[in-house]
Amino acid sequence: MEKWYLMTVVVLIGLTVRWTVSLNSYSGAGKPPMFGDYEAQRHWQEITFNLPVKQWYFNSSDNNLQYWGLDYPPLTAYHSLLCAYVAKFINPDWIALHTSRGYESQAHKLFMRTTVLIADLLIYIPAVVLYCCCLKEISTKKKIANALCILLYPGLILIDYGHFHLGFALWGVLGISCDCDLLGSLAFCLAINYKQMELYHALPFFCFLLGKCFKKGLKGKGFVLLVKLACIVVASFVLCWLPFFTEREQTLQVLRRLFPVDRGLFEDKVANIWCSFNVFLKIKDILPRHIQLIMSFCSTFLSLLPACIKLILQPSSKGFKFTLVSCALSFFLFSFQVHEKSILLVSLPVCLVLSEIPFMSTWFLLVSTFSMLPLLLKDELLMPSVVTTMAFFIACVTSFSIFEKTSEEELQLKSFSISVRKYLPCFTFLSRIIQYLFLISVITMVLLTLMTVTLDPPQKLPDLFSVLVCFVSCLNFLFFLVYFNIIIMWDSKSGRNQKKIS
């Protein structure tokens, strides 16, 4: 069957699933006084439309920063402004200054959902389709199946606002993988200017491009490329931040909003090292703020340094994608003020390597969805999350036959196990171990989900289930961190040649 027809069908399935999920409740529905993220988005439209640019990030009588103040870079503000113009055309009540606080209606919900769907349709979905079509060394059927699995990933469907930043980041990866470095960098700069969490991905981009420049020779083409890239980055930042570069105070205030260093190591429950540590040892309360900052900074960088250095020395497309994963995962696990939703920044690169290590990627993506369980339950999304997770799982199992691909070779651990076998000749049971770990992990996740849904936590420990979910997810993520780093470090040219021959 024609490739494009099948791809259209896959895209339509993705869109249908997204829209039907969005018919459910949204975050903070009917919960005054603060409501939720949905209200935050609506409020930003109100602020950007009614107030002049200079007042967007400042506290004033018209703009109370405690009530969902803007804390994303300017591109988010511009996007909200655009949506506000459309809203004004349909119903000005939705964005009237002050009076539209907490506005909830069926029509407004439709409007917000439509803006999200259109954003996905214009930016994220074409990126996914193009990415899958540009994959090398796999058949057409597999490419389309790959697109289906990526589009069915539950995390991005269930979290209800648009994923412009991930879409732009994906365009960035696409550009760079296809050797359009300048366009790729531009897309990625736009992504950073949309949400500052994209900085999680910044290091791999930087290291990969730097490595490319070094490879081309710093005295010739490499230097030219370096200069061009620097110009693009600077130009895009200047363009986005232009209204805020007029005064020093403006720039500083925006930066203060983007990086709230005085908010502490973590907020709420997140599947993070620090939160898990906190279960045993209340580090958040014991250590002073600046020590916490230094601790998190150091641990983050120490954990991602090996992979990045390797990327500079041996830039390769495959290494780039895996480094994206491990870098983002390091940031997620060790950085400060990490939100549960930031796991999506790790999930996106994992989706990109779905075709190379289907078994591990599927496992990771299931865990990432599970780690957001408390949040999803709070937003009353139990049914859609169960359904989409099952759909995703079935799609992956049918498309990639993941349970047949658990040998060492398939898990890309061959070179690693060969090295280990030099010291421990009996180390032949690696894939067995991994299979058992997978079973244990899935069983634990299912049990915890059932418990969280059916049982009430004991009086003394009201957060018991959320903490357990975070803890279990954190353990899984640590395992994945180690795994991905192993792949990166043991990946060598000879390894790739072996794969081609076999």
Binding site: M1, Y5, T16, M383, P384
Partner: protein, 521 residues
Amino acid sequence: MAALTIATGTGNWFSALALGVTLLKCLLIPTYHSTDFEVHRNWLAITHSLPISQWYYEATSEWTLDYPPFFAWFEYILSHVAKYFDQEMLNVHNLNYSSSRTLLFQRFSVIFMDVLFVCCKCIDGKKVGKELTEKPKFILSVLLLWNFGLLIVDHIHFQYNGFLFGLMLLSIARLFQKRHMEGAFLFAVLLHFKHIYLYVAPAYGVYLLRSYCFTANKPDGSIRWKSFSFVRVISLGLVVFLVSALSLGPFLALNQLPQVFSRLFPFKRGLCHAYWAPNFWALYNALDKVLSVIGLKLKFLDPNNIPKASMTSGLVQQFQHTVLPSVTPLATLICTLIAILPSIFCLWFKPQGPRGFLRCLTLCALSSFMFGWHVHEKAILLAILPMSLLSVGKAGDASIFLILTTTGHYSLFPLLFTAPELPIKILLMLLFTIYSISSLKTLFRKEKPLFNWMETFYLLGLGPLEVCCEFVFPFTSWKVKYPFIPLLLTSVYCAVGITYAWFKLYVSVLIDSAIGKTKKQ
């Protein structure tokens, strides 16, 4: 790991398809539901709380029980599960009660019953050899499991058609396998679940009589009267009689048969439903309206003679046509019988085995849809699903199927008129249409193209029609003055397509039987 592999059915595409569509149905739970939801809740309440003698007399709610007794028993069984979800829904006086648990229960009951449909569809999903997506079995499975009409009628609008169609497909399958008694039994049961299947009863009757009761044919294919088997006729009759007795027996004993029949066949309703089903009468009504407008303009008609209640205002009552002669129920019955007759004759004189039966069945369903009294647009599904079975066999059938399906499905759009469901129906329609056209085109790529330019043009015209009706029209000034125009346009445009498909199918059946005749000679 090996066990898990087997359990997840690696490469078992059929389970993947079935599970996929079931998950999609779960996602459709929070969508809009029509008054049919309240209808079924009411029936749950009636069958649970009242004794049998009251079932067909109960009229607290306007949605009285108007399906045959087996369906009432089905609702009774469901109600015993329902009481664990929400006891309140079983109270007859709780009109329009729809708590979230009620919604959940009802939706899940539909999804669960659809499993029966899936099982009936479960023809051998053997291991595949070459290209999977091109095998007719795969295409047929998708066309049946992911049928757009069934999805939106059952899981959004809310009905229980899935398992009923499963029964019908199973009975057809049994006839294909020459297990005629089981086929007849299943069809009899089906009839007593929903009497709309009377539309196709003639096909069943004639086929069973001709191909089962006459055990052998003469060499040239015509009837061998001596091979008439009394035993078979009597056993068939007995099966039908027993099933009917089981169903209607209790009501016969209570002397309630007339009441039951008056509920089942409400002829007091008008020729057309509130929204005209795209059949012949839609075209007839439209012509009448056009002629009356022209007549008024040219002063041929006296404005005082025109009745106040216009057909297009959507009132479901009896009324007169203005220019063309009025249509009575008897007239529609005669038209339907005349329309069915040629295909029945073909089936009788030139039986071509189960395949011929299937074509006759589709024709019966389609003809009844074309000329029936108070036909609902959902009845088009009765023709579309059997036609799906034919579509993967021949290129000609595929072409007719695609026209019928696309226009038939489009005509279901007015059922979902709420804004949140608009993207869903458009996306699902596109999904099904694109898949069906491209897969059938690929299947029959070695033969001549499936559509000629006229048909392509017509099908492509559905796009602009949808844009006009749903996106442009609501913002024009005509919305207040003539609110019925989108419905009128949709109905008439689809009626053209469906009539064309019906005509084409008839021609192909008649030609095939003529060819069969010459071949045999």
